[in-house]
């Protein structure tokens, strides 16, 4: 019976709007992901990145893999193009810089987890981010080994960077321990039950437009003219046409189609949560790892 009640409660909760996330007080953020495009994809976080930058944050992107398989070229060529396009995309979003760790794309399962984690810990200690954005390490059904690997390395790096006995060699270099207080985690919600967001981040149309522009900077993998040609053929086969695409080249049409999709998904996440535009995340706050103390700290912490 209790189980049934809980199930019903969960169903109601899923339909109810998510609480609106506030931008945490802070100065710096890191986006830690395996791939060049993970920050801007339709289920991504480009809107939140734009919003953090607008709020005065400085941000850096850590791209853990070399993206050698993503694109129509040979491995080294893809790596270089994707690196360049990633630099362009983060500049559009207003981030300060990019670190490419160069681990082998789609082969990160056998990557040594602790070595990857050590690299992330070092960069966390260097930048001392108030916010980290990444994949949800608990998301189910993510078929991409790189997403799982980086999310798992990151899940520990965010708190282990705060322990002096973890990689004491960094301390010798003059870096200090730093625990990341806020995390925004994303996953594809179309990958089944796994990822259930707990906050919605309200976006403006300008945030969405910037995310879109950054997204289409990844021209090696998105907004390819062949996609527009395929859409036109499919429409023609059903005796349909989209007048908005008529006077556009295939390349312009591809960008327009991607823009519609981005606008649609951002509006959909907004509408679901009583907002105009939104992205959704699993948010972890500074003391959420201490479930027995969160209430006490909320009620008893005071300003100095």
């Amino acid at each position: 019976m209790i189980g049934l009640i809980l199930l019903a409660a969960a169903a109601i909760a899923a339909a109810a709007p998510l609480p609106k996330a506030a931008i945490p007080e802070g100065k710096r953020f890191l986006v830690i992901q395996p791939h060049h495009d993970d920050h801007t994809t339709d289920y991504g976080m480009g809107g939140l990145i734009a919003k953090l930058v607008d709020a005065g944050y400085d941000g850096w992107f850590i791209r853990a893999s070399n993206d050698e398989k993503d694109g129509a070229w040979g491995y080294p060529h893809n790596d270089m193009i994707n690196q360049r396009e990633s630099e362009a995309a983060i500049a559009i979003l207003g981030m300060k810089g990019l670190y490419s760790l160069g681990w082998r794309n789609d082969y990160m399962d056998p990557t040594p987890l602790l070595e990857l984690r050590a690299q992330i810990i070092l960069l966390i200690r260097k930048h001392r981010p108030d916010v980290v954005l990444g994949h949800d390490p608990w998301g189910h059904y993510d078929r991409n080994p790189d997403h799982r690997k980086v999310a798992r390395a990151c899940a520990e790096a965010v708190w282990m960077a705060g322990l002096r006995n973890v990689h004491p060699e960094h301390i010798e270099l003059g870096l200090e321990p730093w625990r990341v207080p806020h995390q925004f985690l994303k996953a594809r919600v179309d990958y089944g039950r796994g990822h259930e967001a707990n906050v919605a981040v309200e976006l403006t149309q300008a945030h969405v437009a910037r995310k879109m522009k950054a997204y289409s900077a990844h021209r090696n993998v998105y907004a390819h003219p062949s996609m527009a040609r395929s859409v036109r053929q499919q429409l023609a086969a059903r005796g349909l046409k989209a007048p908005e695409l008529d006077r556009k080249t295939d390349e312009e049409a591809a960008v327009a189609i991607e823009e519609w999709h981005m606008d649609w998904i951002s509006r959909k996440r907004g509408t679901e949560n009583g907002l105009r535009y939104a992205e959704i995340f699993y948010y972890l706050g500074e003391f959420d790892h201490l479930p027995g103390l969160t209430g006490y700290l909320r009620d008893n912490v005071v300003k100095r």
């Binding site: 798992r152 520990e156 973890v166 027995g292 700290l297 008893n300």
Partner: protein, 290 residues
């Protein structure tokens, strides 16, 4: 009357169980399951703790070697407070289980299951989400597998040669501190699926508190980290203006009461712990249980 008492004592002894508790670190089993373990040992059950990692990083101002030594001694005290008879430490370095072969870890746990032949296993719930210390996840997964392989003769054949026979553990408690927002949702109703179980711990709370307070090194580090975070953002927690034994003990009590209240929510207890539980009937497919 005397013979009746003897008879009762005999019955209690006959029903007493052997419990093996597997934990990644010195704190997790106390915070998530300490009250339940203390209740069981109080009624005559015999408990052994298998501690996988060495807590060498969980100190405020001690080098790893000192931290490992200090937390080991404190873990022994915590275990004693819960009525646990013995602590076996595997000695893996804290925070590094992600780099340990899961099969190696499984086989080391399975060895102890075959050696001790427990009736009840407590293991970290490897399916609990948003658990920060992934050592707990890796330990839980290895223990979950170990429970299975310990029962199979074709695993680790040399053990049978020295008389350490395969063993089926009949009861299994998966424990985790309440961080997973979906932890109360029932699993699918299919066969062989453990279900949520909430255990009242009011009578055992003082023992659990004594055990948690025994972990001085870990608790002081936790308090210092909270204070440091607040200080760096222009805030303070009056309780931690001075971090000493008294304030740390108070903080530990507040945390334990907080955990116990969270777990008791929606149940007829003031204080509780929560598990996923697979009892003896779990061994039998649902179709055959009737």
């Amino acid at each position: 009357m005397k013979s009746l008492l003897c008879l009762l004592a005999f019955a209690a002894a006959a029903n007493s169980k052997t419990i093996l508790i597997v934990t990644a670190d010195a704190a997790d089993f106390v915070l998530a399951a300490g009250g339940t373990i203390a209740s069981m040992t109080a009624t005559g059950d015999r408990a052994i703790l298998l501690r996988v990692a060495n807590d060498d990083k969980n100190a405020w101002d001690l080098a790893p070697e000192q931290a490992a030594a200090r937390t080991s001694a404190e873990c022994e005290q915590a275990a004693r407070a819960l009525g646990i008879e013995k602590v076996v430490s595997l000695g893996y370095r804290e925070g590094e289980l992600g780099g340990v072969s899961p099969t190696e870890l499984r086989d080391r746990i399975a060895f102890h299951i075959r050696l001790l032949k427990p009736d009840v296993l407590f293991i970290p719930n490897p399916y609990a989400e948003y658990v920060e210390q992934l050592d707990r996840h890796y330990t839980g997964m290895a223990a979950e597998e170990a429970r299975h392989t310990a029962a199979l003769r074709n695993h680790q054949p040399p053990l049978a040669a020295i008389g350490v026979e395969p063993h089926v553990t009949r009861e299994l408690y998966y424990y985790a501190q309440p961080v997973d927002p979906r932890r109360r949702e029932p699993e699918a109703a299919a066969t062989f699926v453990p279900q949520p179980k909430v255990v009242g711990i009011e009578a055992a709370f003082s023992k659990k508190l004594r055990a948690a307070r025994a972990l001085k090194t870990i608790q002081t580090a936790a308090a210092m980290r909270i204070r440091q975070r607040l200080e760096s953002t222009g805030r303070r927690l009056p309780l931690l203006d001075t971090v000493n034994e008294e304030s740390v003990n108070k903080l530990v009590e507040i945390e334990l009461r907080g955990l116990a209240t969270l777990c008791a929510k929606d149940f007829p207890y003031k204080m509780a712990e929560e598990f996923h539980y697979a009892g003896p009937e779990y061994q039998v497919p649902a179709k055959l249980r009737r």
